[in-house]
């Protein structure tokens, strides 16, 4: 009986300490939610770009596994599409954005969408999607053209788009396993000079088109979508 009483008293004391401690902690932590998680912010992109950035297609691209720099560059280029100098000024002002490359990007509605996000939100979204694993979309490919495309890729593209276009390292776009319609539109934009690119890439694209004709773009696309 005596022993049980002691346990009871100990139990009460301990419980009281626990309650006081936890209540104090909760007063500190529990009252204000300062910002939505990265996951929640990224959720607004998923309506078009798919759950965790894996699109069900046929045209909105997969954004899972793109680098944070790539996504920030795209969003700022969209947001300040009519005034890219402003986007550049923002990038210049922040040390952590030194590798973000602002380039003109044609858009249908992404410029309007990008107006909705602050720089902090863009960074959070970029961080979230850069941590998602790359998923390659299974698509029917013309295997003969894919073979030609592979050779073209090795010769003209592989230096930057490493590992057969599978890698997004060094802030390049995802090619292997990306949606064909998106690759086609994007290559067309580069080719028409609607979308800005590095001098190096422009040179390579011109060289390829000169030697292999414009239809060689489709060979490349068939190679990229042939990969799992």
């Amino acid at each position: 009986m005596h022993k049980q009483n002691k346990i009871y008293v100990y139990f009460r004391k301990t419980l009281l300490i626990h309650i006081i401690g936890v209540t104090l902690l909760s007063l500190l932590m529990n009252t204000v939610r300062a910002e939505p998680s990265k996951q929640i912010l990224a959720y607004s992109c998923a309506a078009c770009h798919g759950i965790n950035g894996v699109s069900r297609g046929p045209a909105t691209p997969n954004i899972a596994g793109l680098t944070a720099n790539y996504i920030i560059a795209a969003m700022l280029s969209y947001k300040y599409a009519t005034d890219l100098d402003r986007a550049q000024a923002i990038v210049d002002k922040h040390d952590d954005l030194e590798d973000v490359v602002i380039q003109a990007r044609p858009a249908t509605m992404m410029s309007q969408v990008a107006q909705g996000y602050s720089l902090a939100q863009i960074k959070a979204i970029a961080d979230f999607y850069s941590r998602q694993p790359i998923v390659r979309i299974v698509q029917d490919a013309d295997t003969d053209r894919a073979k030609i495309g592979k050779k073209l890729h090795k010769k003209y593209c592989d230096k930057c788009h490493e590992d057969d276009g599978r890698s997004t390292e060094d802030d390049v776009g995802l090619l292997a396993g990306q949606w064909a319609a998106f690759l086609r539109d994007t290559l067309q934009d580069f080719n028409n000079e609607d979308r800005e690119m590095s001098k190096k890439m422009a040179k390579k694209m011109k060289a390829m088109a000169k030697k292999h004709g414009n239809e060689s773009m489709e060979d490349l696309i068939q190679f990229y979508i042939s990969q799992q």
């Binding site: 346990i7 100990y10 139990f11 301990t14 419980l15 626990h18 309650i19 936890v22 902690l25 909760s26 932590m29 529990n30 009252t31 204000v32 939610r33 300062a34 910002e35 939505p36 996951q39 929640i40 912010l41 959720y43 607004s44 998923a46 309506a47 078009c48 770009h49 798919g50 759950i51 699109s55 069900r56 297609g57 046929p58 045209a59 909105t60 599409a81 009519t82 003109a104 044609p106 858009a107 249908t108 509605m109 410029s111 309007q112 969408v113 107006q115 909705g116 996000y117 602050s118 902090a120 939100q121 319609a181 539109d185 609607d194």
Partner: protein
């Protein structure tokens, strides 16, 4: 029996969990019950997201239909661009995701429970209402049976309308009327006109006529459809504005406008609308027939345990009634509900509200209307949408891509809600 240590561990765990917001402080004894009325885009987005944020919350969804037919993409069925089975879904995956789906209709909302038509009572700690709209056949005389597609409730009746469009003879006449006031899918009437025109054109019925008669005067929004529609279907489509509808006779297919009478082979009358019956019966609507809510929580102005979103509300920002806008609202509403369950107040950042409405006007030709409402963290409010035209692509190329993006949006959204 638990020993002392186990007991303390449990108490501690529960308190700590509540403190971290894992389990709600005010509902620490048992997991909180959230009841959702309406299994459309708004209701399902909140159900799925809230389950992700707070897995312990018990979520019950009350939905009257076993199948959902999307309003979005339903017009494409008329032109054979999509099929009925691609826009119809069931709720099986919701159950697998841990959401309790009950096929029943809410009849009465009390302060802590909802009674259904079948007499069942569902208690709740928080209630979310996403019941959509109902037709308000007032201000005009209606004769005969109202076809399902004229009730304008998501994609309901699109199969019937599709058959009637297919049965139109060459030289047939269709009239689409648009009322004054807010409607679900503001661009949908114009999209419907174009998709019917596409079907007629594909089938060589070029002597036919579709008249779009709207009561409001044309503005920038409707003028865009007039301009493009007249270009895509020069002889098939005719647009009229300031047409006040006085009488609808579904028996004789005759419409009486203030300007005179019109008879057609097919009538698509779009009724004036208001929040669904259950919202009205629960005293959540105002004189206009819509529900007033707080701008960034979607908490009803009339009941502080009830959240309302989607087509049923009259939002201070004048948000339009579209599927994408409902999804966007739902993210913000889920955060607000989660805060309430955790006993947290909010003072920080929110994602923007994104309203994107795609309109398919022809195969490989679509346009979009985008409104973006960024969150101003300093002022703690959403900022009015500013339209910036930044299209650098030629119109036809932008329209071709937008058509593919519209399909991509639909594929991703419908998969997320019903198939994942």
């Amino acid at each position: 029996m638990l020993n002392r240590r186990q007991f303390l561990q449990q108490i501690n765990g529960a308190l700590l969990a509540s403190c971290l917001g894992i389990a709600p402080a005010s509902y620490a004894k048992k997991s909180a019950r959230v009841l959702i009325i309406g299994g459309g885009v708004a209701g399902l987005t909140v159900a799925r997201l809230l389950k992700q944020i707070q897995p312990d919350v018990q979520i019950t969804l009350l939905e009257k239909n076993k199948n959902y037919t999307f309003g979005a993409m339903s017009n494409a069925v008329l032109a054979g661009i999509s099929q009925l089975q691609h826009i119809q879904f069931n709720y099986q995956k919701l159950t697998a995701a841990g959401i309790n789906v009950i096929f029943d209709e809410a009849a009465q909302v009390d302060k802590d429970q909802v009674e259904t038509v079948s007499g069942k009572k569902h208690p709740y700690d928080l209630l979310l209402m996403a019941p959509g709209v109902q037709a308000r056949w007032t201000g005009m005389e209606v004769i005969g049976d109202i076809p399902t597609y004229c009730q304008w409730s998501s994609g309901t009746g699109i199969d019937v309308l599709s058959q009637q469009v297919a049965a139109l003879k060459n030289g047939g006449k269709v009239i689409i009327t648009i009322p004054e006031g807010m409607i679900s899918g503001p661009a949908a009437p114009y999209e419907r006109a174009c998709m019917i025109a596409d079907s007629l054109q594909k089938n060589g019925k070029n002597k036919s006529k579709i008249i779009v008669a709207q009561q409001p005067a044309h503005n920038d929004f409707s003028q865009r459809f007039v301009d493009i529609g007249s270009k895509l279907y020069p002889n098939l489509l005719e647009f009229r504005d300031k047409q006040k509808l006085q009488q609808v006779n579904f028996k004789t297919k005759q419409l009486t406008f203030a300007q005179g009478k019109e008879t057609a082979d097919l009538l698509q009358v779009i009724p004036p609308q208001q929040a669904a019956t259950i919202a009205e019966q629960s005293g959540l609507t105002d004189n206009s027939g819509w529900c007033d809510v707080a701008a960034h929580t979607f908490l009803s102005k009339k009941n502080d345990k009830v959240y309302i979103l989607g087509d049923a509300i009259n939002h201070p920002l004048g948000l339009r009634k579209t599927a994408q806008c409902a999804r966007s609202q739902a993210i913000i509403c889920a955060l607000a509900m989660s805060d309430k369950l955790s006993g947290k107040s909010f003072n920080g950042e929110l994602p923007p509200i994104l309203d994107v409405e795609y309109s398919l006007l022809k195969t490989d030709y679509a346009i979009s209307h985008v409104d973006t409402y960024p969150w101003d963290a300093t002022a703690q409010r959403f900022i009015e949408s500013k339209t910036t035209t930044t299209d650098t692509l030629a119109t036809a190329e932008a329209a071709r891509r937008t058509f593919a993006y519209a399909q991509s949006w639909f594929n991703n959204l419908s998969y997320e809600l019903f198939s994942s």
